[in-house]
C-alpha cells in the first residue's frame, strides 16, 4: 500500500451537490405530471365559467393534495427505515396506518360531529402510540432477519385492523371504515383538504434534522459518540411519522407502500446520504402518487378507482422484488 495521495482533479467534498441538472430535470418531469393531473378528469374544465370554477374547487386542491401527501408519506417511510435500520418498513407495513384508522373510527363513534381537526388529532395520537408499540416490539425481538421486522409489523397492523373492523361492524360503521381506508383523492375539494398543509411542516422538519436522523440510524452508540441524543431523535422521528400518517389518513386515506417504494428506488441509485437524497425522495413520492392517481382516474373513466388499489399492486410488486433481491445477497 503506498501512501501517495491520488491527484484527483475533482474537488473532494463529502456532500453530493444538492442542486444538479438532474434534479432540475426531475422537477420538470414532476411539473409535467402535475399539469397532466390538473387536466385529467371527467369534467371539461374548458367549458367556460363552470369549468373554471370546477378547476379551482376540485382540480387544484387535488393536485396540491397529491404533492403534499406524496412527499410526506415517502419521507415518513424513509425516516422509519433509517430509525429501524430496515428497508422494508413504512407506515403501512408497521401498522401505523391501521392505528391512525382506529383513532379516526374511535372519534367517529364517540363524537360523530367532531371537527376534522379533532379527528386528525386522534388519528395522529393513535399513530404515535402505534409506532411506539412497534418500536418497543423491535427492541424485544432480535433482528436476525430483516424480513422478520415487516412481518411483525404487518401482523400488528392486521390485529389493529381487525379490531377496527369488529368495532365498525358492531357500530354499523363498516362502510365509512372502508371509504376512509381506501386511499383516494376523489373526495379532495376546496374547504376539505386544507388541513393537509400541516404535513409541509413535517417535510421541512425532516430536511432540517436530516443529519441527526441519519446518525440516529447508525445506532445509539454512534449517535452518543458525536453528542446526538438518540432517544430524543427516535421520539421526534416517531412524532413526525405519526403526524404525516395521521393527517394523510384522515384527509386521503391509506397510501400503501408509497414510503417503501420511493426511498428504496432512490437509495438504489444514490446511496443513503439523507440530506442530498431528500429532494429526490420528495420528487419521487410526488411522481409516483400523481402517476397512480392519473391512472386511477383514466382506467375506468368516467369513474375513478381508489389510488390505493393501484399503489397496492405496484407496491406489492416492488416489495416482492426487494425481498427476492435482498434474499440473493443476504448476509
Amino acid at each position: 500500500m503506498n501512501s501517495t495521495v491520488a491527484l484527483t482533479p475533482k474537488p473532494r467534498t463529502s456532500r453530493a451537490p444538492l442542486y444538479t441538472a438532474k434534479l432540475g430535470l426531475g422537477c420538470l418531469l414532476v411539473l409535467i405530471l402535475l399539469a397532466l393531473s390538473l387536466l385529467t378528469g371527467a369534467f371539461d374544465i374548458f367549458s367556460g365559467e363552470e369549468g373554471r370554477e370546477m378547476f379551482a374547487i376540485s382540480r387544484v386542491p387535488r393536485t396540491i393534495a397529491l404533492v403534499l401527501a406524496g412527499a410526506a408519506m415517502s419521507m415518513s417511510g424513509l425516516v422509519m427505515q433509517l430509525i429501524t435500520q430496515n428497508r422494508f418498513v413504512e407506515p403501512s407495513t408497521t401498522g401505523t396506518t391501521e392505528w391512525a384508522g382506529l383513532g379516526l373510527l374511535t372519534v367517529l363513534f364517540f363524537y360523530p360531529s367532531a371537527s376534522i381537526l379533532f379527528k386528525m388529532s386522534a388519528a395522529v395520537a393513535f399513530a404515535f402510540i402505534g409506532a411506539m408499540i412497534f418500536f418497543l416490539f423491535l427492541r424485544r425481538i432480535s433482528l436476525k432477519s430483516s424480513l422478520i421486522v415487516p412481518i411483525v409489523g404487518i401482523m400488528l397492523g392486521a390485529v389493529v385492523s381487525s379490531v377496527s373492523t369488529f368495532f365498525a361492524l358492531q357500530t354499523d360503521m363498516l362502510q365509512s371504515l372502508s371509504v376512509w381506508f381506501a386511499g383516494s383523492f376523489t373526495s379532495i375539494y376546496q374547504g376539505q383538504y386544507e388541513i393537509l398543509w400541516i404535513v409541509l411542516g413535517v417535510v421541512i422538519a425532516v430536511f432540517i434534522l436530516a443529519d441527526r436522523l441519519t446518525l440516529a440510524g447508525l445506532g445509539e452508540e454512534f449517535s452518543t459518540n458525536v453528542g446526538v441524543n438518540y432517544r430524543r431523535m427516535v421520539l421526534i422521528a416517531t412524532a413526525l411519522i405519526a403526524i404525516a400518517t395521521g393527517v394523510v389518513t384522515v384527509v386521503v386515506g391509506s397510501l400503501p407502500f408509497l414510503g417503501l417504494i420511493v426511498p428504496n428506488i432512490v437509495s438504489m441509485f444514490r446511496g443513503d446520504d439523507l440530506r442530498s437524497n431528500l429532494p429526490w425522495v420528495c420528487l419521487g413520492g410526488i411522481a409516483v402518487v400523481t402517476l397512480c392517481d392519473i391512472l386511477a382516474r383514466i382506467i375506468i373513466a368516467p369513474f375513478e378507482m381508489p389510488v390505493s388499489v393501484i399503489l397496492g399492486v405496484l407496491g406489492a410488486t416492488v416489495f416482492v422484488g426487494l425481498v427476492v433481491k435482498g434474499g440473493a445477497n443476504a448476509r
Binding site: A6, R15, S146, L218, G219, E221, V226
Partner: protein, 251 residues
Amino acid sequence: MITLKDVNKNYSSEVSIGPVDLEIPRGGITALVGPNGAGKSTLLTMMGRLLGIDQGAIEIAGMDITTTKSKDLAKIVSILKQENHFMTKLTVRQLVGFGRFPHSKGRLTAEDEEIISRYIDFLHLAELESRYLDELSGGQRQRAYVAMVLAQETEYVLLDEPLNNLDISHSVHMMQHLKDAAEQFNRTIIVVLHDINYAARYARYMCAMKNGKVIHMGRTEELMNNQILTDIFETPIEVISTPQGLLACYH
C-alpha cells in the same frame, strides 16, 4: 488525564465491575489488557459515557462525564465500539464526515472538508473514499471507522478491540497508524487489546484488569513481567527480551 474514582457497575448478580480507581495519563497509547470477562470493554464503554455507572465518578480532562453535556463531551472524547453494523449505505467519506458533527452540526465548512481529507489520507483511504462501506473488506472498513473517530479531533480516543477480525498485516498497520496518530496529532488513545504483544510493542502504558478490577497500571516495561502476566492470565507466561523489545511467550 482520565480519572476514575471508586467506579462501580453491577451488571448482574455474578458480574460486577469495580471499585475501580484509575488515572490514565495524557499522551501515547494506553492498552487495557486482561482475560476474557475482566471488564475491559465495559470500563471503556463507561469512560465513553455509552454506559451509565452505578457509583463513583469519571472525569475526562477535568469534566465529569455524567454531568457534562453529551455534545460538549463529543469534542473531547470519542469512542468506537467493536461491533458496527448498520444497513445505511454510506460512502467512506460520508462516514468520516460524520466525525465532524460535534463541531459543524452537519454544515461542513471548507476547513471540515480539509480535516476529513487529512484523516482519510492518514489511513490510506483516499482511493476508497467514494466507495460504499459494504463494498469494503473488514480491514478497510475498520480503518474507515478509525478515520471517523480521528476526524472528530478529540483529545481522547477510546477504541474497543480495534484489531478484532484483522489479520497480522492489517493489525500491525492499524497499531502503527494509532501510534502515529498519538504522536503526530498529540492524542491520547486508549485501546482494549487481546494480544499483549501488540500492547508491549506499541503502548506507552498498560492497564491490566481481572475480575472487574484494575490489578496493575503502569508503564509497559513495568507490566511486561513474568510474575504479573502469569497472575493476570493464570497461564505461565515468560517475558523475553528481544532486539525488537519485550515479548511475551505463552505457548
